[in-house]
């Protein structure tokens, strides 16, 4: 299973990456630090799942999500953000995402992420 993690924080990418490596079998993990890198990797690697932040330099998560959804409505996308606004969540959910998760990434969120992956992919 191929998962792309897009977050500008190396700390957060490492935490998510470790969780996925310890819990997902046959994992192919790809990392990007902004929306531009994320979009390039999305096009070349065709991941099964994208876990992405919203607030990032160069190209943010909103722009990345819209670009992907213009051509592809099927790739599973999990938004993982510090943004607590209801309006953000409502607007993002209109783009057909699999889940909207609130930072910080901790043990509870790690379990939630794995449980979503198991539900969606049976992995």
């Amino acid at each position: 299973m191929k998962i792309l993690v897009v977050d500008d924080s190396n700390f957060v990418r490492s935490l998510i990456g470790k969780t996925l490596q310890n819990n997902v079998t046959n994992l192919e993990l790809i990392m990007a630090s902004n929306g531009i890198e994320g979009y390039d990797l999305y096009r070349t690697e065709n991941p099964d799942l994208i876990v992405m932040d919203l607030l990032m330099p160069e190209m943010n998560g909103w722009e990345l999500l819209k670009l992907i959804r213009e051509v592809d409505l099927s790739t599973k996308i999990i938004i993982f953000t510090a943004d607590v606004q209801r309006a953000t969540r409502d607007e993002i959910e209109e783009h057909g995402i699999t889940a909207f998760m609130q930072k910080p990434f901790n043990k509870e969120k790690a379990e939630q992420l794995i449980s979503i992956i198991e539900e969606e992919f049976g992995a």
């Binding site: 500008d8 924080s9 190396n10 700390f11 957060v12 607030l55 990032m56 330099p57 510090a82 943004d83 607590v84 606004q85 209801r86 309006a87 953000t88 607007e91 930072k103 910080p104 901790n106 043990k107 509870e108």
Partner: protein
């Protein structure tokens, strides 16, 4: 600047927002965090006096680590989360599970790329938790810039605030994290329009309370 009722309502709101922010920080470091009751003031930049007693613990070393984010849309300004450098280092150590050296002085503190990355993420969490709730309160979606981390002197802090907006909503609180006392403060510089929006909403809440 604020009437007693406005200050009371704002303190109550901010109390909840800071509590939620502390909860997020607690989830990050996996430790209980105790808070002092936030003090809140709406001041003009010229009225802001860092030499006041309540800020001494934060500004005692004359330098602070600042994590700041601009926010915009109808509610706009810039929010700063500031820590004494040695406290910032302790906070980072707790996040990474490293050994803490609280005796380090501000002058010997060095922040590497990983430290800056973690401080940026902490700033992102705390500022989003507070400003995002103001967005929810005002029914406005606030957009943010990427957090910036700087080691700045107090003189520079005042200058930076002056470069931004006229009014400063000062929220001051202390965090007690496990056995380590980490003190931080949040400053929010607001545009005149944003202050008006916020006070308009606070006045509406006040009217609702009074029937």
């Amino acid at each position: 600047m604020l009437s007693i009722m406005q200050k009371d309502i704002l303190t109550e709101l901010v109390n909840v927002y800071i509590g939620q922010a502390a909860n997020l920080l607690s989830e990050t470091v996996n430790q209980k965090i105790e808070l002092t009751i936030p003090q809140i003031n709406l001041l003009t930049v010229s009225e802001l006096d860092f030499s006041e007693y309540k800020y001494l613990s934060i500004f005692s070393s004359s330098y602070v680590v600042s994590s700041s984010m601009r926010f915009g849309n109808k509610f706009q300004g810039k929010a700063f989360l500031v820590f004494p450098p040695e406290h910032a280092k302790v906070l980072i150590s707790v996040c990474t599970g490293e050994i803490v050296f609280p005796e380090q002085s501000a002058h010997t503190i060095r922040l590497d790329d990983t430290d800056l990355d973690i401080l940026r993420e902490i700033g992102n969490l705390i500022i989003n938790a507070i400003i995002g709730e103001f967005g929810n309160l005002l029914n406005i979606r606030v957009e943010y810039s990427i957090p910036e981390i700087e080691l700045i002197s107090i003189v520079e802090t005042q200058k930076i605030l002056l470069e931004n907006d006229i009014y400063i909503l000062v929220l001051h609180t202390s965090f007690t994290l496990a056995r380590t006392r980490i003190t931080g403060a949040v400053f929010i510089a607001l545009s005149l329009n944003s202050v008006s929006l916020l006070l308009e909403k606070v006045n509406m809440l006040s009217e609702d309370l009074n029937g």
